[in-house]
């Protein structure tokens, strides 16, 4: 196709060239042109006269400048750079910086590193008096990156937050792309010094400017709480117990004691963990009533934030259900912790879509599983929701189950079909937002065994899906955040990886990498210069056509 287009254009050009335009002129001496012969070859224009024409070259230059401006739109003009040293100091203020190495915290070590860096840069300042120097100080943790220029170093504290080197990376990239002023830093950095207790990530080695990654964390052993999980299931709800997971980092102690204290510091329960290797162990505790409980592990070690956690239990949430069908429930669900509660139920079982109440998970149940008069083939089934888990579609087909009776009262845009037959009869449907599930009939226990299995499985699948979507699992505690950085109440400092103080980390680079550099300053775009040049020459050329003489006019 492109070849055809090129040929077409070439043909057009040839036709254009051989169909010359004779510009008409009316003159008094026309009669004397009688003997003048026309051109032997009639071309649109004379190439020779074109290339000897000054206006042609000027116009070509203007056009060329415009094309170059487009082609070089991403290029800049080189500028004479000035040497400078701009040191950006970034200090990790995550919780792990509170870890005691020897007889001081890692934050204390970091502050000594800052002093060392500043002394080194001060020496450079004396050695290179003509070089521009500047420094910016900032801290970073999972709460983000904060500029601390002008803040005395002794005022820099660790925070009960996690480490977030990724956010540091993003922030540095924005700084290096010229956003220093927007971020209130005092100077464009030429070097970055990061003082932290984690290993230098890969991106540090690929940075545009040198990043000196100083790891101030020496390996120390630690045992800490890593999670506290409520126990139960989506079908039967939380059973009032919690599983506490403890991880040992480095060389574990022989035994670790786990204690549960209530709000009055009364010991509720305690267990011990015996360690042979550093691993994660869990213990399950049954909590008696609602209230605040503190989980403590002993003995105390170098990193304290994961030695204690507080959880809050509002109430024990048995699944409350409201059975609103005319036929009674054929099971005794109280045995599995379900509580018949028409008021404020977690789930309702009703017989009509007219009884739906907004926000309460509901199963709409048909009168019975009845056999259809004729045979139906199951042709549509939706498996992703789990409502059809372990359902025998063969059984559904052989039993000739009829449609849910409610379905005629709902418009199709109010439900999603889960199970339907070849005559588009809807057997099971659901709605995400109501939420509800419709099934043809109640669970059965004394019918055909295949029908018993089908009806019970479908009913509890519907319950499981509805309760799962209603999220009844209690949230016992939350981690500190930038908005809530203090571990108060059931806000804990159990950030992933903060307790892993045992690792032998590695840094990157050295202070000797700090040398005067020619910074990459933002370049003036070359397209703007070309555009300006073309514009000026165009104005002159146009002026000459207006006011000038031959050949410009």
């Amino acid at each position: 196709m492109p070849a055809v287009l090129v040929v077409f254009i070439v043909v057009l050009v040839i036709l254009y060239m051989f169909r010359p335009y004779y510009q008409p002129f009316e003159i008094s001496s026309a009669e004397f042109f009688e003997t003048v012969k026309g051109p032997a070859i009639s071309l649109r224009f004379n190439i020779l006269s074109l290339v000897t024409s000054a206006p042609f070259w000027v116009q070509l230059f203007i056009l060329g400048s415009l094309l170059l401006a487009v082609l070089l739109s991403d290029r800049g003009l080189p500028q004479a750079p000035a040497e400078s040293i701009g040191v950006l100091l970034a200090i990790d203020t995550s919780a792990s910086m509170s870890t005691i190495d020897g007889n001081q915290t890692r934050m204390d070590t970091a502050k000594q590193e800052i002093t060392t860096v500043r002394a080194f840069v001060g020496d450079l300042h004396e050695a290179y008096p003509d070089v521009r120097f500047c420094e910016s100080l900032m801290t970073f943790d999972s709460g983000g990156v904060r500029v601390q220029d002008g803040i005395p170093i002794e005022n820099i504290k660790h925070r009960a937050l996690g480490t977030a080197t990724a956010s540091l990376q993003v922030w540095l990239e924005s700084i290096l792309s010229g956003d220093a002023q927007q971020n209130n830093t005092l100077c464009q950095p030429t070097h970055v010094v990061v003082i932290t207790d984690v290993t230098a990530p890969e991106w540090v080695t690929q940075s545009e400017i040198p990043i000196i990654w100083r790891d101030v964390g020496e390996p120390v052993d630690n045992v800490g709480i890593v999670s506290i999980d409520p126990q139960g299931s989506e079908l039967f709800g939380w059973n009032g117990s919690v599983e506490i997971s403890i991880t040992a980092y480095g060389t574990p102690p022989a035994t670790t004691f786990i204690s549960i204290l209530d709000a009055n510091n009364n010991l509720i329960d305690s267990r011990d963990l015996s360690w042979t290797v550093a691993t994660t162990q869990s213990r399950t505790f049954q909590l008696p009533t609602a209230g605040d409980y503190t989980v403590m592990i002993t003995p105390e070690d170098s990193y304290l934030y994961d030695n204690q956690a507080t959880i809050r239990v509002d109430n024990f949430q048995n699944i409350r259900y409201s059975w609103e069908l005319p036929t009674p429930l054929p099971f005794d669900l109280s045995a599995v912790g379900w509580e018949l509660s028409p008021n404020n139920p977690n789930i309702r079982i009703v017989s009509s879509s007219a009884e739906l109440q907004s926000g309460i998970p509901t199963i709409i149940v048909g009168n019975e599983y009845r056999q259809a008069t004729d045979s139906h083939a199951i042709t549509y089934f939706e498996e992703e929701t789990g409502i059809l888990d372990r359902i025998s579609l063969d059984a559904a087909q052989s039993l000739h189950i009829g449609q849910s009776p409610f379905i005629t009262s709902l418009t199709p845009d109010l439900y999603t079909v889960i199970l339907a037959d070849d005559s588009d009869t809807v057997l099971v449907a659901m709605n995400d937002s109501a939420p509800f599930v419709t099934i043809p009939g109640p669970p059965m226990i004394d019918a055909d065994p295949e029908l018993n299995s089908f009806s019970q499985t479908l009913f509890f699948n519907a319950v499981r899906w509805l309760l799962n979507s209603s999220a009844i699992t209690p949230e016992l505690y939350s981690n500190t955040t930038n908005a809530n950085p203090n571990p108060i109440g059931n806000i804990n400092v159990l950030h992933d990886g903060e307790g892993a103080t045992h690792t032998q980390n590695s840094g990157f680079g050295d202070f000797s990498d700090i040398t005067p550099v020619e910074p990459q300053v933002a370049e003036d775009p070359i397209w703007a210069v070309l555009l300006l040049l073309a514009s000026v020459i165009l104005v002159i050329e146009r002026g000459l056509t207006l006011f000038g003489r031959h050949p410009w006019n």
Binding site: Y21, Y22, E26, S28, E31, F33, E34, P39
Partner: protein
């Protein structure tokens, strides 16, 4: 586009020119003419007593005897001699070529506004020249005639102009377009007016190519020459301007006798146009090989404004020595 009258601004310049012409005439030698001597005529003014050296051909014995009786027959001191005033008036016959080629260059559009257009034709120049000559000649001429060199009878054969007020009607009549096919030399006024004392100014581009017209024209110029009339040939030459306008490139040449659709398709290089210029010059030489001087006004290569074209006219006019001689002795 209609020709423009001379700008009132130029009247002041011409007025100074005219005063200068009058001053020159007053101080000219007694008895001599502004026109050529061969055509001089003398008119009696008064008698004066004879003094030695007076021309005895002007002795009037009858008058002398009437005053002094017979004594006048023997005493020269009683003789009376006729005194004459010299013929200082100018008889000017201005022929203006009305051939269609005189209407080019057609219209010069201003580069600054399409609406601001002006006429730079040879006819425009000829009319300005005629008007300027007339304005100067009013003081000294006793006969001033505007004459369309060619006619087909559609306009008056000639226009006696001896008062300033008569200029507009003559101006408009001369510039009225006429059918070119039937043009013949306008000989009737020539027969009538071309007396011995006339100065005949012929303003033309001499682009007419018809052999009959050329022969007729030459015959009349030769007749006038034989009568020792002062003939001034004013050649209006716009070739330089038209050449610059054509520039170099493919051009469809149109004009007199070449209708649209029949335009001459040429590539206007210098080499290609040299034969055109040769033909023009050959034609002019064919018309004008009388051995007399001709005065060419050559259009400059460009005029961007009407003012520039007016300045071209004034400079050309005021610097033309031959035309000055018409009015100023020893100019």
């Amino acid at each position: 586009m209609e020709a423009l009258r001379l700008s009132p601004d130029l009247y002041g310049v011409l007025e100074r020119y005219r005063i200068e012409a009058r001053r020159q005439a007053r101080f000219s030698s007694h008895g001599e003419h502004l026109t050529r001597k061969k055509g001089q005529s003398l008119e009696f003014e008064d008698y004066k007593p004879y003094t030695a050296g007076d021309d005895t051909r002007h002795l009037d014995l009858r008058a002398s005897m009437r005053v002094s009786g017979h004594q006048a027959m023997v005493d020269p001191s009683k003789w009376l001699v006729r005194e004459f005033v010299s013929e200082e008036q100018l008889r000017l016959f201005i022929s203006i070529d009305t051939h269609p080629t005189m209407r080019y260059p057609t219209i010069q559009s201003s580069r600054f506004s399409r609406r601001n257009t002006f006429n730079i034709s040879k006819l425009q120049f000829a009319l300005w020249l005629t008007e300027a000559l007339s304005l100067i000649a009013f003081e000294t001429a006793d006969k001033l005639i505007w004459h369309p060199l060619f006619t087909n009878g559609q306009i008056a054969k000639s226009f006696p102009v001896i008062r300033r007020e008569a200029i507009p009607s003559a101006f408009n009549a001369i510039q009225t377009p006429i059918q070119a096919d039937t043009l013949t030399l306008n000989t009737e006024p020539l027969e009538r007016e071309l007396k011995p004392a006339f100065v005949w100014v012929i303003i033309s581009d001499f682009y007419f190519t018809d052999p009959y017209r050329i022969a007729q024209f030459r015959e009349w110029v030769l007749r006038a020459q034989r009568g020792n009339r002062w003939i001034i040939l004013v050649d209006l030459d716009s070739w330089d301007y038209e050449r610059a306008m054509l520039n170099t490139g493919l051009r469809g040449i149109q004009g007199h006798n070449i209708a649209r659709g029949d335009e001459r398709k040429v590539y206007t290089s210098d080499q290609n146009l040299q034969p055109v210029l040769d033909r023009i010059n050959d034609n002019k030489n064919n018309i004008l090989n009388f051995g007399m001087e001709r005065h060419s006004f050559r259009w400059d290569s460009n005029y961007d404004t009407l003012l520039e074209f007016q300045n071209f006219f004034m400079e050309s006019f005021l610097n033309n020595t031959e035309l000055k001689t018409l009015f100023m002795r020893n100019a």
